[in-house]
C-alpha cells in the first residue's frame, strides 16, 4: 500500500509550498499561489462528498456561503475575534451540511435528485440572504480593515497563503485518511454499490452524513477565508453558482476519488484562467465558458480526470513490465 508514501508526499508538498513566500516577494506570484490553493481547497471539499461519497452536489456554495456569512457576522455583529469566528464558521457550515444531508439521505435522495436539491437549497439561501437585514441584503457585508495576524488579516499575501495552505494540507490529510481507513472504505463501498455495502454491515446513512459534514466544514473554511482576504461578501458571491461550479469542475477535471486529483484539477484550471486573462483581458464570463468546456471535454474524453490519466499510464506500465500474464 502506498499509504506512508502518500503521507510523505503530502509533507513534501506542504513544505515546498510553505517556502514560496520565503523565496519570493512578488505580490503577483504570492497571489497566484494563494488563489490556486483556495481553488484547491474547494475542489478537495467537493471531492470528499462527490468523489469518495459518490454524491454529486451542484449547490456546494451552500456551505461556502454559510461559512462566509458566519465569519462576517460573528465579527461585525458578534464582535468576536476573527480566529474564533473561523472556528464558528467551520462548525456552522458543517451543521448546515448535516442538516441538508440528514434530510436528503434520510429520504434516500441520490444522483440527479440530490444534485438538484442542493442547487435548490443554495438558491433558497441566496434569496433569503438577499432579503434579510442582518446579512446586509443585496448590499452585502464589509469587513473593516484591521491588519493584524491576531485578527486574521495580513499585510501581504504571505500570511493568507499560509492559512489557506494549512487548510489544504488538512484536507489532504483527511482525504488520505479516507483512502486508507475504515470509514473511507465504507464510504467508497456505499458509493460503488450501496446494497452490497448494506449486506456486509455498512450503515449508508451514517457514512454519507459523515462525508457531507466533513465536506461542508472545509467549504465553510474556504468561505471564511474568502471573507478575510477580500473583506466583503454578498449573496451572489456566497451562494451563487460560480463557487459551486469551480469546486465541482476542479475535482472532476483533476480526478474524483483521488488524493491529488483536486490539487491537479484546481491548479490546471487556475492556470488556464490566468492564461486567458493575460491573452484576452477581463472578459465577463470567459472563465466559466472555459470551465464548462473543459468539463464537457473531460467527461467525454477523460472521465477519470487528469489523475486518472496518471493511473492509466501506471497500469499500462505495470502490465507491460509484468510479462505475459501481468
Amino acid at each position: 500500500m502506498s499509504g506512508p508514501r502518500q503521507l510523505a508526499g503530502i509533507a513534501l508538498f506542504a513544505a515546498a509550498v510553505a517556502c514560496v513566500p520565503l523565496v519570493t516577494a512578488s505580490g503577483a506570484t504570492l497571489n497566484f499561489v494563494m488563489m490556486a490553493l483556495y481553488a484547491t481547497l474547494i475542489a478537495q471539499a467537493w471531492n470528499i462528498l462527490g468523489g469518495f461519497g459518490g454524491q454529486f452536489s451542484f449547490g456546494h456554495a451552500l456551505f461556502f456561503g454559510s461559512g462566509a456569512y458566519i465569519q462576517a457576522i460573528a465579527q461585525l455583529q458578534g464582535g468576536l475575534n476573527a480566529w474564533v469566528a473561523l472556528g464558528l464558521a467551520v462548525i456552522g457550515a458543517a451543521v448546515v451540511g448535516l442538516f441538508i444531508g440528514g434530510l436528503s439521505f434520510r429520504y434516500g435522495l441520490k444522483g440527479s435528485y440530490f444534485a438538484l436539491v442542493t442547487l435548490a437549497f443554495a438558491e433558497v439561501f441566496r434569496i433569503v440572504a438577499l432579503s434579510v437585514p442582518f446579512t446586509g441584503g443585496g448590499v452585502g457585508l464589509m469587513l473593516p480593515l484591521r491588519e493584524a495576524p491576531s485578527n486574521l488579516q495580513f499585510a501581504t499575501r504571505a500570511g493568507y497563503l499560509w492559512v489557506v495552505l494549512a487548510f489544504v494540507v488538512a484536507a489532504l490529510l483527511v482525504t488520505w485518511w479516507l483512502r486508507n481507513g475504515r470509514f473511507g472504505a465504507w464510504l467508497q463501498a456505499v458509493r460503488d454499490n450501496e446494497d452490497a455495502a448494506r449486506a456486509v454491515g455498512v450503515n449508508p446513512f451514517r457514512v454519507k452524513l459523515g462525508a457531507i459534514g466533513i465536506s461542508a466544514a472545509f467549504m465553510g473554511a474556504a468561505g471564511a477565508f474568502y471573507v478575510q482576504v477580500f473583506q466583503y461578501i454578498d449573496p451572489g458571491i456566497a451562494y451563487g453558482s460560480s463557487t459551486s461550479v469551480e469546486a465541482l469542475v476542479g475535482a472532476i477535471v483533476g480526478g474524483v476519488g483521488t488524493l491529488w486529483g483536486p490539487v491537479l484539477g484546481a491548479v490546471v484550471l487556475h492556470l488556464l484562467a490566468d492564461l486567458t486573462r493575460n491573452l484576452f483581458g477581463e472578459l465577463p464570463g470567459i472563465n466559466m465558458v472555459i470551465y464548462g468546456t473543459v468539463l464537457v471535454l473531460i467527461v467525454i474524453f477523460l472521465p477519470r480526470g487528469i489523475a486518472g490519466l496518471g493511473l492509466s499510464v501506471r497500469q499500462l506500465w505495470a502490465s507491460a513490465k509484468g510479462g505475459p500474464r501481468g
Binding site: G54, F56, F58, L103, S104, Y107, L109, G111, S112, Y113, A115, L116, V117, L119, A120, F121, E123, V124, I127, V128, L130, S131, S241, V245, L248, I252, L283, P284, G285, I286, N287, M288, V289, Y291, G292, T293, L295, V296, V299, I300, P303
Partner: protein, 290 residues
C-alpha cells in the same frame, strides 16, 4: 387581505404563465422520459432561444410570433446536434456523466451569452405589448393571453405527434424498451436525437410566446431550470399530463407567492415545492413509483 379581484387577477396571470411553464416542462419530460437524462441545459437553452427571438426582432424586425417557424426548427437543430454529437458521447454507461455534461453545456451557454451579449436585461417593444383584455374583473395583458393559447396549441401538437405519428410511436417504443426497439430496426441514436431536438423545439416555441411579456438576460436560464424541474417532479417524471397540470399549478403558486411575499421571496415557494416533492413524494402526482 387582498380583495377577490386582485386574487382572481393573480390566479389568471399564474395560469397564463403556467401554460408557458407547462410547455417548457413538456420538453424536459420528453427528454427525461425517452433518454432518462436530466437536461440541466434546458434553462440555458431557453435563454438562447429568447435571445434569438430578441435579435430577430431588433435586427430584422421579425415579430416574435412570426419568428416561430424560424426559432422552432433552429432550436430543434441545436437539440439534435447537441445530443448526437456531444451528450451521446459522454455516457460511458454512468448517469453522473450525463448530468455533468448537461451541466457543462449549460455553463458554456450561459457564459457565452454573457460574453457576447453582456449582462444587460433586454426586452422588446411590440405594438400589442401594452394592450390588455378584460376577463371578469381582471385585466390581462394581450401577450400573456396569446402565450396561453399558443402554449396550449403547441402542447396539443406535441401530444398529437407522440400519439399519432410514426415518429411518436418510435419514440414511445424506445422510451419503454430500448433493446426491443433496436431489434425492431429502430435507429435508437436517431430517436434519442429527435427527442432531444423536439424537447428544445418546445423551448423555441415557448421563447416566442414568452419574450413579448417578459425579458432576457444571460441568467434567466437558471431560474427557469429549477421551475421546470419543479414542474416535472411535481407532475411526475415522465408524465405529460403531469407536466401540463404541474405547469399550471406552479404558475399559480408563483403568482400568488409573488403577491403575498414579493417577487424574490415568492420564488421560495417554488423551491419549497420542489424540495418537498423530492423528499416526500418523489413520484409526484402522476409518475410511476420508483
Amino acid at each position: 387581505m387582498f380583495d377577490s379581484s386582485i386574487l382572481f387577477s393573480s390566479v389568471l396571470n399564474g395560469l397564463t404563465t403556467g401554460a408557458v411553464y407547462a410547455l417548457i416542462a413538456l420538453g424536459l419530460t420528453l427528454i427525461y422520459g425517452v433518454l432518462h437524462i436530466i437536461n440541466f441545459a434546458h434553462g440555458a437553452s431557453l435563454m438562447l432561444a429568447l435571445y434569438a427571438v430578441y435579435f430577430l426582432k431588433e435586427r430584422w424586425g421579425i415579430d416574435p410570433y412570426l419568428a416561430l417557424p424560424i426559432v422552432i426548427p433552429g432550436m430543434f437543430a441545436l437539440g439534435y446536434g447537441l445530443q448526437r454529437l456531444v451528450i451521446n458521447r459522454a455516457g460511458h454507461g454512468k448517469d453522473e456523466n450525463i448530468l455533468l455534461v448537461t451541466l457543462g453545456i449549460a455553463i458554456v451557454m450561459e457564459n457565452l451569452a454573457l460574453l457576447f451579449f453582456k449582462s444587460d436585461t433586454r426586452n422588446i417593444d411590440t405594438a400589442y405589448a401594452l394592450s390588455t383584455v378584460a376577463i371578469g374583473p381582471a385585466m390581462i395583458a394581450v401577450p400573456k393571453l396569446v402565450a396561453f393559447a399558443g402554449a396550449l396549441v403547441v402542447s396539443a401538437l406535441l401530444f398529437w405527434v407522440m400519439g399519432r405519428t410514426d415518429l411518436g410511436r418510435a419514440i414511445r417504443a424506445v422510451a419503454k424498451e430500448k433493446e426491443g426497439a433496436k431489434l425492431m430496426g429502430i435507429d435508437v441514436d436517431h430517436v434519442y436525437a429527435m427527442s432531444f431536438g423536439i424537447g428544445l423545439a418546445c423551448l423555441g416555441a415557448a421563447a416566442c410566446f414568452l419574450l413579448p411579456a417578459y425579458y432576457v438576460n444571460p441568467q434567466v436560464g437558471g431560474g427557469f431550470v429549477l421551475v421546470a424541474f419543479t414542474i416535472v417532479v411535481l407532475g411526475g417524471m415522465g408524465s405529460f399530463v403531469g407536466a401540463l397540470i404541474g405547469g399550471f399549478l406552479v404558475g399559480i403558486v408563483e403568482s400568488l407567492g409573488g403577491l403575498y411575499l414579493g417577487e424574490s421571496l415568492g420564488q421560495i415557494g417554488i423551491f419549497a415545492i420542489f424540495i418537498g416533492v423530492v423528499l416526500f413524494r418523489p413520484q409526484g402526482m402522476f409518475g410511476a413509483k420508483a
